[in-house]
């Protein structure tokens, strides 16, 4: 579990999608989220479906990982679907069980909106499945670079994200250690009324926060000692490289958008 906190949901691999520049993937998602709303008939939804299935199969990520990403959203999708069937009364009745009537408009609308949700979640889940959080942080920093002109501290935000990614597992472990240490000293965490248990949090929190502050101070001293000066003129250990693959992905997305535009009703 501790290790999974660092790499997130990343599934290591060497597929085409894994090797893409994180910037490409971020732009792709942004464009996809926009163009998914262009679809409004069977052809356009089928086209988007083909695109999604194509990308998913290119990543070669096991199906079970994708399902994990869909899990939190599956109830929403089902609920939306049922609600549309029950509430939308358009078009001819397809079938009827007692009072329960299913209209064609409701069924079609329900399927479309559920599909849109599934496409969106699948594509955004793929980003986190094929890219490490550190890569995404680098990509975001590069993409948001123009916003530096508006005095937005892009470099600083990216650095703070990296710091927090680095320390999440450390602090998790620390919490565990502190808890065991306090239990050894006789703090009772596991029984008693709620009030007592909440009180027991104090001997857990104080050392945790003191340790977080100490680590922050040490890190700051280390940064200063190495001459950290902010983003200006800083060289990078991980360099992002934009290749022909990336350009072709963006072009194919624009083609997809154009096709959707012509096919939509």
């Amino acid at each position: 579990m501790m290790d999974s906190m660092i790499i997130g949901k990343y599934v290591p691999g060497t597929s085409l999608v894994h090797r893409l520049d994180p910037r490409t993937k971020l732009i792709t998602i942004f464009l996809f989220v926009c163009i998914v709303f262009l679809a409004n008939n069977v052809q356009t939804y089928a086209l988007l479906g083909l695109f999604t299935i194509g990308v998913v199969s290119l990543t070669r990520v096991p199906f079970s990982f994708l399902m994990k990403g869909l899990k939190p959203i599956i109830w929403i999708v089902l609920f939306t679907f049922l609600l549309h069937i029950l509430m939308t009364h358009e078009g001819p009745i397809i079938f009827q069980i007692g009072f329960f009537k299913v209209y064609e408009g409701g069924l079609v609308q329900g399927i479309f909106i559920s599909l849109r949700f599934v496409y969106l979640i699948l594509i955004t889940t793929l980003l986190t499945l094929t890219t490490t959080p550190i890569e995404i942080t680098d990509g975001m920093e590069q993409l948001l670079n123009p916003l530096k002109k508006l005095k937005l501290p892009v470099h600083e935000l990216a650095l703070m994200m990296s710091i927090s990614l680095r320390f999440i597992p450390t602090l998790m472990e620390e919490t565990d250690k502190i808890m065991k240490a306090q239990m050894a000293r006789g703090v009772d965490f596991t029984s008693g009324p709620v009030k007592e248990r909440v009180k027991a949090i104090v001997p857990l929190l104080v050392p945790l926060f003191v340790s977080a502050f100490k680590r922050a101070e040490e890190l700051a001293v280390a940064m200063e000692a190495r001459g950290y000066q902010g983003g200006e003129g800083r060289t990078k250990y991980r360099k992002l490289v934009w290749t022909g693959k990336d350009t072709s992905v963006i072009v194919s997305l624009i083609v997809l958008a154009a096709l959707l535009f012509f096919l939509r009703a």
Partner: protein, 200 residues
Amino acid sequence: MKQRKLRAGDMALIGMFAALMAVGANITSVAPFLQVAGIPLSMQPFFCLLAALLLGSKRAAIAMIVYALVGLAGAPVFAQFSAGFAPFAGKSGGFIISYIPAAFAAGWFLERNIQPSKIRFLIASLIGTAIMYLIGTTYMYLALKLWIHTPVSYGTAWGFMIWFMVKDTALAVILSFIAPAIYRSIHKATGFNRNHISST
């Protein structure tokens, strides 16, 4: 607001608090005792307010922004180890966003006074909680209405959240009692002073 450049010390602290939020969101995985009637207690609001009371408005708000971005970038830092875009699309996504203004407001209120009293701590944490639920519940209502297409009335949305609100208000009150003690221990151990932006 005075424009100050973020120093290395501030950035390290902010990163650390964003990490602490991640710990708080899933603290039940290391501290299984924090459950009430089988429901794991999310300590996110608690940690968010603690960040505000310890770091002050600006740094706490940035810490919450960093936390949201780290989650968005795919590290499983939100409740139930979720991450990415999906939690924002869900009905509880508004809370992740609400931590930012909540932390800012609570910190801002505390900063009005250099030597804040206990009452001020209490009001600051209550303001923070109120903002969280105001934004979180409204977001839930809008999410249900606009893209989950399951319209419920605004009142129903509040009715759904009321028990969580009672829990978090209770936690906020407890927090306001223990926050000064935590601050003193940190001050003693590291010389950290809330009113100073770090000198390193």
